[in-house]
């Protein structure tokens, strides 16, 4: 029996009668992580990893009916043994392991295989069937080392500071921003954040993740010389808004895996693109799939067709799962969260 099938509401476990990251309201929802396309409002009961509780409550409301599990802790529900395991994507992200009548399925949610210090590192979980994402499922995607990327960000910031210019770095407010903060060289200058970023910083700090001191950019008066030495973290939506005016002459950059391609970088229209992703690159996807030992692989959101065909050529039984996470068809670098 298939332990997970695609239903109009989302990925569904028939014997357990619950959903994983449903996109329409259901009775019981397991949430792999707090990004908006995976964690939606309106479900009756939620289950998520213990380290993701703060995030989920801050995004979906303090009063949601939420049960949490420590990584590796097992529970049984309608005869299905269920446990959550680190996915290395963002704080609280989890893979869902399901066991029923000797069959083991793992649903990955979104994952990244390289540890980054802001969330529990990805752990391969042996299974018969693995449900994988495929956001960066093309061999062109191979991430540079994190040390190289952070050296690049620090050097850019330093050069701007020396020219008396603010450095505005656009990135997603949840996950990416905290990862950048964690890796920055805070001795270069003050770090300012947009109002969308600070609440999530608080959750990370409460979870014991080290982040350097940050100040809310809105508290700094317009002509304060401090602005011209600062690194500013802001969500992409702040770009081009009147909020940006306070920084005067600034240099801007965008941090995302999509920045690997020259075309996407130019389309963004920012001075610099830093290649930093919360998702596995191509070698990472193949490594993770190999580690599970699964013979059957279900591929969700991203380059679904490419990965399915490639895995089949490698002798696995791979199929596509239609979901409403991120973009369905192919990589649309334009606005995807990555």
């Amino acid at each position: 029996m298939d332990l997970v099938i695609a239903r109009p509401e989302g990925l569904y476990c028939p014997p357990g009668d619950f959903y994983i990251d449903p996109w329409r309201p259901v009775d019981r929802a397991i949430i792999t992580h707090g990004h908006g396309d995976h964690a939606r409002t309106g479900n009756r009961h939620y289950l998520t990893a213990a380290s993701g509780e703060g995030i989920l409550r801050s995004r979906l409301g303090q009063s949601i009916d939420l049960q949490t599990l420590a990584y590796g802790e097992r529970i049984r529900h309608h005869g299905v043994t269920l446990s959550l395991h680190p996915a290395g994507h963002v704080l609280g992200s989890a893979q869902v392991r399901l066991e029923h009548q000797g069959q083991v399925w793992v649903a990955s949610g979104d994952y990244k295989v390289e540890p980054d210090g802001t969330c529990a590192a990805f752990e391969p979980v042996a299974c018969h069937t693995f449900i994988t994402e495929s956001t960066f499922g093309l061999p062109i995607y191979r991430w540079p080392s994190q040390a190289e990327v952070f050296a690049g960000i620090n050097a850019w910031w330093r050069a701007n500071r020396d020219q008396g210019k603010a450095s505005v770095l656009f990135c997603y407010a949840f996950g990416k921003a905290q990862r950048i903060l964690h890796g920055l060289d805070a001795s270069i200058g003050p770090i300012l954040v947009h109002g969308a970023v600070e609440p999530l910083n608080r959750v990370y700090r409460e979870a014991g993740v080290y982040l350097p001191e940050t100040r809310y950019a809105g508290d700094i008066p317009r002509n304060d010389p401090l602005l011209r030495q600062a690194l500013v973290l802001a969500p992409p939506s702040a770009g081009g808004s009147s909020w940006m005016r306070r920084f005067g002459d600034y240099s801007d950059a965008f941090a995302s895996g999509w920045m690997l391609l020259r075309g996407t970088r130019r389309r963004r229209g920012v001075d610099r693109g830093f290649v930093l992703s919360d998702h596995a690159d191509w070698p990472g996807l193949l490594w993770a799939i190999g580690q599970t030992g699964a013979q059957r692989v279900m591929v969700t959101h991203g380059s679904v067709n490419v990965l399915v065909r490639y895995l089949n050529e490698q002798g696995l039984d791979a199929r596509a799962f239609a979901t409403e996470y991120g973009d369905e068809d192919e990589s649309t670098p334009a606005g995807a969260e990555a």
């Binding site: 093309l138 061999p139 062109i140 995607y141 191979r142 690997l260 391609l261 020259r262 075309g263 996407t264 130019r266 389309r267 229209g269 001075d271 610099r272 380059s303 490419v306 065909r309 490639y310 050529e313 369905e328 068809d329 192919e330 990589s331 649309t332 670098p333 334009a334 606005g335």
Partner: protein
């Protein structure tokens, strides 16, 4: 190679001309002359012939990356650039070669041309293995001849002029012919570009033309012209010809005809050869080559459509019949050199007066003097401009009477405006889409448009494709259209998708002609999207009859 790759990244990272200028100056200030010579060549648009066939590059990269062919193709479709795709797929090397650009081009790359595929397959992998990713991408762009980085020749000229303390015009003059295919720039060439000016430099230039002065597009309502431009009396007003911009150079008893791309086209226009005898030495004319109606009365505007000129250019040999049916003339409108002296720093009206004298004194059969238009007010000129389409011209040219003859699209020495008539336009339906390149890579941004073949209500009514276009949308609109295309795809053939027709755009184009090569029987020139007709249902898009009515 590393230094040039670093320059490339710096230029690519900014859209500001000043930042680019600074990057160029920094590079040239420290680059060895032989590397600088090649850097100027590539940055100014020089392109050696393709060194290795694309097919060989693809096969080799696919094998080295150990990928199936289809996956290489998928990757290429997502990246939209062959050199970049290969650089992303090959095994990586963090180090990078310290050998200079000149050494790489001369010792490694140029010798690849014409080698048997087997030999190329042997040589390339060890070369690639020496390069870090930015250098590798650059190396591949040089091999495929697709090097481009958003720097104009003018910007390179300015950077060199600033560095060497020279007049930018002088540097531009020295750069003429520098990027010719087959030219191998050397350290000595670079030194010549930036050397102090010598007294005899002007007399040593052989048949070289001057860098062309280009016009800016004027897009303001006529009512604002007085405020923007002052009175019409400050301007020299002419028709804007739709032909080939050319300079005719007569020196030392010889004649050269150059097109705007600084391409020597003397052979293509035998009608002009008599000028070798009739023009005095030391003369350079600037004007437009046009096909003229055979036997037209003198003084009449008898321009033939650009399509005829294009046909002539497409022919390898020019037969008698073609020359008789589609003879060319030069509409001369500027004089850049007179009696061997550079006149570019004289005012427009002074150059024009001398041009008129020259035309009066010498019998120059294939040369016509581009007529001036008189108008008391801008409104009056706007009215005359309305005749453009029926006369076969593109609108008016406005040249500041005091303007000097600048280099490229500059405004610092006076301005030329092109005041074009509005393009033809029709409402067309998007039926196929393909992913674009460069800035538009991985977005469905290159479209095929169709119109209806019959009026509404006809039983056999269908959409027939007639034009492809990819420019004119904002990034935001492009993203939206991309998303709709993905949702409405009917079929995929290779990189092309057919979609359920839902999108209507107003397409603009400059010219229209009958064509046996297109299904619709019609070919349009410079099609582009003017706006997205969100208000228009597909059924109300235009039909073939609308297009046919535009044929003159």
């Amino acid at each position: 190679m590393k230094a040039f790759a670093a320059l490339y990244l710096r230029l690519d990272a900014t859209t500001s001309s000043n930042a680019k200028l600074e990057a160029l100056r920094d590079y040239f200030a420290q680059a060895p002359a032989d590397d600088a010579a090649w850097a100027v060549y590539f940055l100014a648009g020089g392109r050696p012939r393709q060194l290795v066939p694309t097919r060989v590059l693809r096969e080799l990269a696919t094998a080295l990356a150990a990928l199936p062919d289809w996956l290489f193709e998928e990757s290429y479709q997502a990246v939209g650039d062959l050199a970049e795709t290969i650089s992303l797929l090959l095994p990586q090397n963090g180090q990078g070669s310290d050998d200079g650009l000149a050494y790489w081009v001369e010792a490694h790359l140029l010798p690849l041309r014409g080698l048997p595929a087997e030999e190329v397959r042997q040589r390339l992998p060890p070369l690639w293995a020496q390069l870090d990713r930015p250098s590798l991408m650059l190396c591949l762009k040089l091999i495929t001849g697709s090097f481009r980085v958003g720097v104009s020749k003018l910007l390179v000229t300015r950077a060199l002029a600033q560095l060497a303390g020279l007049d930018a015009k002088r540097v531009a003059q020295r750069l003429v012919g520098y990027t010719d295919i087959g030219h191998r720039p050397s350290a000595a060439d670079y030194h010549r570009l930036v050397a102090a000016e010598s007294a005899d430099e002007h007399s040593q230039r052989g048949g070289q033309p001057y860098p062309f002065f280009l016009a800016h597009a004027l897009q303001a309502p006529t009512e604002q012209f007085d405020a923007l431009l002052g009175p019409p009396s400050d301007w020299q007003v002419e028709w804007k010809w739709d032909g080939i911009r050319a300079q005719v150079v007569k020196r030392d008893g010889q004649l050269w005809v150059w097109s705007r791309g600084e391409e020597l086209v003397t052979d293509r226009f035998p009608e002009l050869h008599s000028l070798a005898q009739t023009l005095p030495d030391g003369v350079v004319l600037d004007g437009e080559i046009l096909v003229w109606k055979p036997g037209a009365t003198r003084g009449a505007l008898a321009v033939q459509p650009f399509a005829l000129l294009q046909q002539r250019l497409g022919r390898k040999t020019l037969g008698k019949k073609l020359l008789a049916d589609a003879p060319v003339v030069l509409q001369a409108y500027d004089l850049l050199e007179w009696q061997g002296e550079d006149w570019r720093n004289r005012a427009q009206h002074a150059r024009r007066r001398q041009l008129e004298r020259l035309m009066a004194e010498y019998p120059l059969a294939p040369v016509l003097l581009s007529p001036l238009l008189e108008g008391l007010s801008w409104a009056d000129l706007a009215e005359q401009r309305e005749q453009s389409r029926s006369l076969g011209v593109e609108g008016l040219m406005l040249k500041q009477r005091e303007a000097l003859y600048g280099v490229g699209r500059t405004k610092d020495m006076g301005t030329w405006w092109k005041w074009k008539i509005d393009p033809f336009s029709v409402d067309a339906v998007l039926i196929y889409a393909q992913r674009g390149h460069g800035r538009r890579a991985s977005l469905y941004s290159d479209y095929t448009f169709a119109v209806w073949n019959a009026p509404p209500g006809s039983p056999e009514r269908a959409l027939v494709p007639f034009a492809k276009a990819y420019s004119g949308l904002s990034d935001e609109e492009m993203r939206k259209v991309d998303a709709i295309i993905r949702k409405t795809t009917v079929e995929t053939f290779g990189p092309v998708r057919s979609v359920t027709p839902t999108l209507v755009f107003e397409l603009g184009f400059e010219g229209i002609a009958l064509s046996s090569r297109h299904k619709s029987g019609i070919a349009v020139r410079f099609p582009r999207m003017l706006r997205w007709r969100l208000d228009k249902p597909v059924e109300e898009a235009d039909d073939l009859a609308t297009l046919q009515a535009l044929l003159i």
